[in-house]
């Protein structure tokens, strides 16, 4: 039997399952340890120890009963973002330049679109694992006001992950080499992590800084996650957050397809 062309993009992407499963089998042990240990360290250091110095007044903490309960959703959303950056920067450079894996994939009946689709699927699996573990690690710390909210926060992380994954993938796919990654981490990831409302209410920021913080995708993810775990769900605000993240994910998708196609189909 010789090969066949896939009948639709999903069927094409599904043909990459064995590739990603092989990659996963090779790396899951290391990532399982980090995705368990990292949140635990953050929760203990920032939430329990640092939080011990902070007077927990629910009015000043967006309704959280403790500082730990305030930052737990922030850390969860940050974990989703960090996982995405880890999967869509250096690994993408490797596949497009160092190992040229994408070139072997598209020499087969598969196309650029299907290759990206499959990789987004893999990123979602990674985020689902690390955020799932995170939720379990935090559960005993009594930071969730409701179980329903905590469960609903899980798919929010997947959406937030996609909103980061498609544009960051696009950025990485078009870079000539890896040197901008250091800058992307220092001037992108870290400021997002520190100033998007994970560690303090953005209401504490002055005028334009607050506007800036509220324009970041991570803030939308953090705020949406927090309103779920603190059981202070507001449908209209939530709708804005979801819409923002969906639009970002969709725009990022088209940009990613455009950038990788331009790089590979010449």
């Amino acid at each position: 039997m010789s090969g066949t062309a896939p009948t639709n993009p999903l069927a094409g992407a599904a043909r990459l399952t064995d590739y990603w499963a092989t990659v996963y089998r090779r790396t899951w042990k290391g990532s399982a340890v980090t995705s368990f240990v990292a949140p635990l360290f953050y929760v203990v250091a920032m939430g329990v120890l640092l939080g011990g110095f902070i007077d927990a007044e629910p009015d000043r903490l967006e309704g959280a009963a403790s500082y730990l309960a305030f930052i737990a959703p922030g850390l969860l959303a940050s974990q989703a973002m960090t996982t995405v950056f880890g999967e869509t920067t250096y690994p993408v450079m490797s596949m497009v330049k160092w190992q040229k894996t994408y070139f072997s994939m598209t020499a087969s009946p598969l196309s650029v679109r299907e290759v990206i689709l499959a990789q987004m699927g893999f990123v979602l699996v990674r985020v689902a694992m690390s955020c799932g573990v995170f939720l379990l690690v935090m559960a005993p710390f009594d930071v969730f006001e409701s179980w329903v909210g905590a469960l609903a926060a899980f798919p929010v992380q997947l959406l937030l992950a996609l909103a980061f994954a498609t544009p960051v993938f696009a950025l990485s796919a078009g870079l000539a080499d890896e040197s901008p990654f250091a800058l992307i981490y220092r001037l992108g990831l870290i400021p997002l992590f520190l100033f998007s409302g994970a560690f303090f209410p953005v209401a504490n920021l002055d005028g334009w800084m607050q506007v800036l913080a509220k324009a970041t995708p991570l803030w939308h993810g953090v705020d949406l996650t927090r309103m779920l775990t603190l059981d202070r769900f507001d449908p209209s605000t939530a709708a804005v957050h979801v819409a923002y993240l969906v639009v970002l994910a969709v725009l990022g998708w088209f940009w990613a397809v455009h950038r990788l196609t331009k790089r590979m189909v010449v």
Binding site: G3, A5, D18, Q99, K100, F103, S104, S108, V265, V266
Partner: protein, 308 residues
Amino acid sequence: MILASGLRKSFGGFEAVRGIDVDVRRGESFGFLGPNGAGKSSTMRMVAAVSPVSGGVLRILGLDPATDGPEIRARIGVCPQEDTLDTELTVRDNLVVYGRYFGLPRREVRERADELLEFVQLTDKANAKVDDLSGGMKRRLTIARSLVNRPELLLLDEPTTGLDPQARHVVWDRLFRLKQAGVTLVLTTHYMDEAEQLTDRLVVMDKGLIVAEGSPLDLIAEHSTREVAELRFGVAEEGESHEVLARKVEDLAERVEVLPDRLLLYTADGEETVAKVHERGLTPAATLVRRSTLEDVFLRLTGRTLVD
């Protein structure tokens, strides 16, 4: 299998392929011979349906790569110039994972992987990491991978560039077996011996154009003499440049080529020509009489050597 007419490829303002006509038939072994930068790889990438055609007509297996890229790629095998193996996967996993891209069932791919490892003599390396393989083994693995979908047409871009002589011969042996098994092979090379060994018919490419076409023997008969006498002189023999020396012997051969390090005398009988050179009182530091090769054909057609 491949039909190209007026095929062009340009990158920005640069024209890599400037209108070529090619017709490759089922079961034949076809070569693109030419130096680096002749447009061979650009042509191969268009034929592999991964690079859009800039002009002219191209049909692969009767299909148009602009609209039927996935169908074409499903039925051909590609062995790229640079190995694109996943170096962190095992040898066997590289084959199995790749076979799955073609929509083949897992069990069939596994059986096929074992057959192919046997074929390229890598069975005992099946569970090794690709990183641990030598250059020749990686090349053989890439060839095995390109065969995983039982392709009707196998494209090989510079299959032995960068390999040591022994590894090249192993690769040639495997490719020769494929050829005997009736697989249509299309390869690019800048090694004339590779083209002579593996192709039934070839085109000589230079600067994006085809400058000659035929079987290796026909091309040699048409564009060169039976034998070549190579004369090497010491550093500036008697203070004379190669050009001056060439004029002294030019009537002894049908044609004389001046290379930086030697003179080539094209003649039907090399030994006789060398004897006549000595009769003229010239004393080359070394002489070599050999058969004409495709290298000579290329030199004749372009005035340049294949490997700079």
